[in-house]
């Protein structure tokens, strides 16, 4: 079974020679493994009660890179993503084994406060989920509840909305309900809301799946802009999207248990996006990419 793992070891703390890249592009100048992983997942196994949902995943997420996780439905992409900021704590019956480190600290260690984890590792969800408040209050909410020291909330709101490329569209209606925005605007609002708490990593679970093509392309553009300041990890079922936006891609699939028929998710291959899409090692990756299944 060891051959299922994409690659067993990711060196950490390799010399930061390649420095930060500020531009999108699945260019070949990308080192083979993330040189400075902000987060790492080692031998991650996730269970929902008795059900083994994710089997032994190893991943490393490079600083200021965009990493995409793709794979057929039910292969555990969202499950792995939720492990990265301990959102799985909220799922009754969910149990996490293995190590998830953030800046070399095990975020599942007893001493670690999951709330502090989530302040550093923000999350954007599949369906835009603005709060039933004004646009302004949606942005201000995070800084307020986390007790962030903010000089001027107005400035922070503006700055966050600008970063999310939403400022011009909403600047005249900050006090209006966020529910009045279109789906794409709502999703950008949710991104702005996350940015406002100044996280380090942003997780996105199929952020465009409920959006139309125009809104989708706006979000994709936004991701490219954000990568200069944030590390982004995105789950998508849309291969084209992964190919368009990400530096690295992890391909997951699910394997049914012979006796129970339960499908356990596992990582098939994790590599630079160009390699995954042009020259995958595993035949299952190839089948998936070429649309032969899924």
């Amino acid at each position: 079974m060891t051959n299922l793992r994409a690659s067993s070891h990711f060196p950490v703390g390799a010399p930061a020679d390649s420095a930060h890249r500020f531009h999108a592009g699945n260019g070949s100048e990308l080192p083979e493994v993330p040189p400075l992983p902000v987060m790492r997942v080692d031998n991650l196994n996730v269970y929902y009660n008795d059900f083994h949902a994710v089997y032994d995943v190893n991943l490393a997420f490079g600083r200021h890179e965009i990493t995409a996780m793709i794979g057929p439905s039910g292969c555990g992409k969202s499950t792995v993503l939720r492990c990265l900021n301990r959102m799985n704590d909220l799922v009754p019956g969910a149990r996490v084994e293995g190590e998830v480190t953030y800046h070399d600290q095990d975020i599942y260690a007893a001493k670690v406060d999951p709330i502090a984890v989530r302040q550093h590792i923000g999350m954007v969800f599949q369906k835009p989920n603005p709060f039933p408040k004004s646009i302004y209050d949606n942005i201000a909410y995070g800084p307020r509840v986390t007790g962030m020291k903010v000089e001027s909330m107005d400035d922070l709101v503006e700055e966050s909305l600008r970063s999310a490329a939403l400022w011009d569209e909403v600047k005249d209606k900050l006090k209006q309900s966020a529910f009045g925005l279109s789906g794409g605007q709502q999703q950008r609002l949710c991104i702005a809301r996350t940015i406002a708490t100044k996280p380090d990593v942003i997780l996105m679970d199929e952020p465009c799946s409920s959006l139309d093509p125009i809104a989708t392309s706006k979000i994709e553009d936004l991701m490219q802009q954000l990568r200069s300041d944030y590390t982004i990890i995105i789950v998508t079922h849309n291969m084209q999207q992964a190919a368009r936006v990400s530096d690295r891609t992890a391909f997951f699939t699910a394997r049914p248990d012979e006796t129970t028929g339960n499908r356990t998710g596992l990582l098939v291959e994790f590599d630079r996006t160009t390699v995954i899409f042009e020259n995958p090692t595993d035949p299952r990756t190839n089948d998936y990419i070429t649309g032969r299944f899924g």
């Binding site: 703390g13 080692d42 190590e99 480190t101 800046h103 070399d104 406060d113 380090d200």
Partner: protein, 313 residues
């Protein structure tokens, strides 16, 4: 299996180690403690009820034998009337009548609301039906005695029932629980996914067939829950039966006669003539405890049924 390598020296990536340790949040702890104590207090009610009833009940069973309590006939001496079975019979009779009225009508109304009424109609009709549950039971009681019995039963229907009778009390009790059954069943029917109705209609079934053969079976556990809740409302209702259901124990099965129910007995005895500490007075608590246990059992059964047969869509 790989041993993850820890980097020596400064951490990777960012310049400083993010602080992830636990913070103290005293306000949070206080809020949680308050919430927990409220929850505990609410749960303690059940024990409170039992505690409040148990002492006089032990006195009661010091005064009469258990066989005299669970008996059809009073022992007929010294003005002691410990037999409870006639009261149970009265309770069951009015409850059955109430269910005979309320189950079909409540279910019919629920089907109308969920399957036939437009959204707007439902928005106003449902609360109107729910109003029936809000009518004070004292009002219902007098309505039964001064309208249902003389005008409807003896007048329009030409029956020849007594002035206080289980039929009128049961009918009005049924009217009172219609909204409970209708409203909860409507919730259960509405919870049946649209996909099932579409599936049926797409096969060429008409609305009636879809409602009766697909929607109702799918909602059955919710409907059962509604019926049982209605039933325990009927069993526990006091003023209607105290006013309209008669105030004498009666072992006959004739619904045209009056039958004292358990709740009516409690209300009438508590207001009555009996010296405190007397058998009749203590019996009040024994009947109350029995009533409490009965509703508890019936409800627990219904909850079990609902759980067991609840469909997860």
């Amino acid at each position: 299996m790989s041993t993850p390598m820890k980097s020596p020296g400064p951490p990777s990536g960012a310049g400083q180690v993010p602080e992830l340790g636990h913070k103290r949040r005293p306000g949070e702890a206080l809020a949680k403690a308050l919430l927990l104590s409220s929850a505990v207090a609410s749960i303690a009610i059940t024990f409170g009820i039992i505690a409040a009833l148990i002492e006089p009940v032990t006195h009661f069973f010091g005064q009469v034998e258990i066989g005299q309590f669970f008996a059809w006939q009073d022992i007929g001496q010294q003005n002691i009337r410990p037999a409870v079975l006639p009261l149970v019979l009265g309770t069951l009779m009015v409850t059955v009548i109430a269910l005979v009225i309320a189950v079909p009508i409540g279910l019919g109304a629920a089907m109308y609301l969920s399957e036939y009424a437009s959204k707007r109609t439902r928005k106003w009709l449902k609360p109107t039906v729910e109003l029936l549950a809000g009518v004070p039971s004292v009002v219902y009681g007098f309505f039964a005695v001064f309208f249902i019995t003389p005008v409807v039963l003896n007048g329009w229907l030409g029956l020849n029932v007594s002035f206080t009778n289980s039929l009128a009390a049961g009918i009005i009790l049924g009217v009172m629980i219609i909204p409970t059954i209708a409203s909860m069943s409507e919730d259960a029917l509405s919870a049946v996914p649209l996909a099932l109705r579409q599936g049926s209609l797409a096969l060429g079934a008409n609305r009636m067939q879809t409602t009766l053969r697909v929607v109702i079976p799918a909602a059955l556990s919710g409907i059962a829950g509604a019926v049982v809740l209605g039933m325990s409302r009927a069993i526990g209702e006091t003023m209607i039966v105290a006013i309209a259901g008669g105030s004498a124990k009666n072992n006959s099965l004739d619904v045209g006669e009056g039958h004292q129910t358990m709740t009516a007995f409690i209300a009438q005895t508590a207001q009555g003539e009996n010296p405190v500490g007397s058998v009749s007075y203590n019996m009040l608590f024994a009947v109350a405890l029995l009533l409490f246990i009965m509703t508890l059992i019936i409800n627990s059964i219904s909850i079990a049924i609902v759980r067991r047969y609840r469909q997860a869509y």
